[in-house]
């Protein structure tokens, strides 16, 4: 009983870390510009496909592909932001949702055209495979690595936002965009950089996710729902909230799959609706 609980917590924690990487960028950009970017998971998919292509076709080592996944997704998000998002900052939620759903559609079709619709396999290096046996339970090496790696990234992210000038500008823009503009902060510029960072993190998350959840063109839609749940439950623009919500979702998802396999995702949607009924702005949201 205890060991199975430990296993669930471990798996859920690893999954939650992944969700955190995937959604933190969306949370910050949504909080800052109120831009409903439903194409966020398409960026994660871009990262995933970059990693797979470099590994399977060019024979790169796994760790070398991760920075490329980050940079590639960040580059794509800069292009998207400049070309398509900028004219729509003041548009309605509906227009923003539709535009970004359109981008998701295009990305799915493009991925299907280039890579086919089957799930792509990845070859992890040997030292990331296998598992340790503790208390009669298996702890996958890759999941351990995932937790450690994501923790490092999160610490870097949080300290950047807390202790640097750029981070202060981001926080100011999230708290009160008009006031930040009034103080001479180039909110659009800060937003563009944040957007690229968030997209890059999503790309990184996409690359790291392949071994856990697989990669096929439907990724952009399938994980969008999870990311949106994390963002709305955590509260827009709140990094701590996003972290808590991601852990909550990751752990309850793996617990649900273990204890009530017949209920499926039902529980998660129910919890999300209940939390939003209780706190419409999310657990840690201000608005």
């Amino acid at each position: 009983m205890i060991t199975s609980l430990l296993g669930i917590l471990f798996d859920g924690f690893a999954y939650g870390m992944l969700l955190f990487l995937l959604s933190v960028g969306l949370s910050v950009t949504l909080g800052m510009m109120n831009f409903v970017n439903l194409a966020h998971c398409s960026l994660a998919m871009v990262g995933g496909y970059i990693a797979v292509t470099l590994m399977n076709r060019a024979g790169w080592p796994f760790f070398a592909t991760l920075p490329m996944a980050f940079l590639g997704a960040a580059a794509v998000s800069i292009v998207l932001e400049r070309l398509l998002y900028r004219p729509l900052y003041r548009a309605t939620d509906l227009d923003q949702s539709l535009l970004t759903i359109g981008i998701v559609f295009v990305s799915i079709a493009t991925a299907a055209y280039i890579y086919g619709t089957a799930q792509l396999p990845v070859q992890l290096p040997d030292y990331l495979r296998g598992s340790y046996q503790v208390f009669g339970r298996n702890f996958g090496v890759y999941r351990l690595f995932l937790i450690g790696f994501s923790l490092v990234i999160s610490i870097v992210l949080v300290s950047t936002l807390e202790y640097t000038r750029f981070g202060a500008q981001v926080r100011a823009a999230v708290d009160n965009q008009r006031m930040a503009r009034g103080l001479g902060i180039d909110v659009n510029g800060v937003f563009a950089i944040t957007f690229a960072l968030g997209g890059g993190l999503a790309g990184l998350g996409g690359a790291l996710a392949i071994d856990i959840v697989g990669l096929d063109p439907s990724f952009a839609f399938a994980y969008l729902v999870y990311v949106l749940i994390v963002v709305s439950v955590g509260g827009l623009g709140s990094i701590g909230g996003t972290f808590v919500a991601a852990m909550l979702l990751g752990i309850s998802d793996s617990a649900g799959k273990y204890y009530f396999p017949q209920v499926g995702a039902f529980l998660i949607y129910l919890v999300m609706i209940a939390i939003l009924m209780w706190r419409p702005a999310g657990l840690f949201g201000k608005r």
Binding site: L30, S97, V106, I108, V225, M277
Partner: protein, 332 residues
Amino acid sequence: MAVMSSAVTNPHQFLQAQNRWHWIEVAFWLATLLPFVLTPSYLSLASQIAITALFALSLDLILGYAGIVSLGHAAFFGFGAYTAGLISKWGWGEPLSGLLIAAFSAAVLGYLMSFIIARFRHLTLIMMTLGLGLLLFEVANKASWLTGGADGLQGVHMWPLLGMFRFDLYGYTAYTYALIVLFLLFLLSRRLTNSPFGLALRGIRENLTRMRAIGATSRSHIRTVYTISAAIAGVAGGLLTQTTETVSLGVVDFQRSADVLVILVLGGAGRLYGGLIGAIIFMVARDQFSGINPQYWYFPIGVLLIAVVMFLPNGILGGLARLVASWRSRSQ
């Protein structure tokens, strides 16, 4: 978004002017009869288009008029579809009463959900509609003893319409049936949106705070229109079940919610005909493209969506209206 001309200041005059039938509308409805003569081999597709148009019409009532963005409207479509299917499976295959029951059950579901919906705006609202839609999908998926789950509902059999017209292979009855239901519910929606209630909804869409400031109720209006919209979506779902005699999980999935949103926005939200035009274009295009390469179907739709949002903010009908307006002002 309907432009209120500055010449009309009296709201009664405005509503009366809106209520008058334009010759283009008459021509449009006459043109819906053309498939019987011109493309008799495509009548099943035509009935699918009519059903999709009805579904888009139901979304237009809440999105185009009350400004409620829904990413889960397939919940009501699917609820109506499963209700109609189950009634028939349990031995009552009479279409008209089955359709009424489907409408009623979807309306009840919509009324219950409207208490949640009316409380929220913006992203939380989108997440709520999405969450409720996904919830219903999971229920339909997991309750396979009732719905057949991923295999679909088997054993749906419809009796002849009015005891006289069998649902034939060519879709002759199906299209006639779907078209008549679409027309009747369109008349209802048209009357509804051109009433003081419709004006109040537009007020809610444009500025909720000001509506409250002038003492108008907003939540009860939202609840009412949401229930009506759910009922119409349920009718559309019931029609699909009755004309195809199967129910698959696809009636309630996210894809259907997204598709109907695309259709409505493509045609132009907030003008009733937008959903109808969008449904014709979308369904005909899908029929054509799917013959070539089904899995790339997303690409043109995605590009179209991006283009509509960037260049045609009010959809095809909005663009046409602007064109006509500029042409008129030039000729004067």
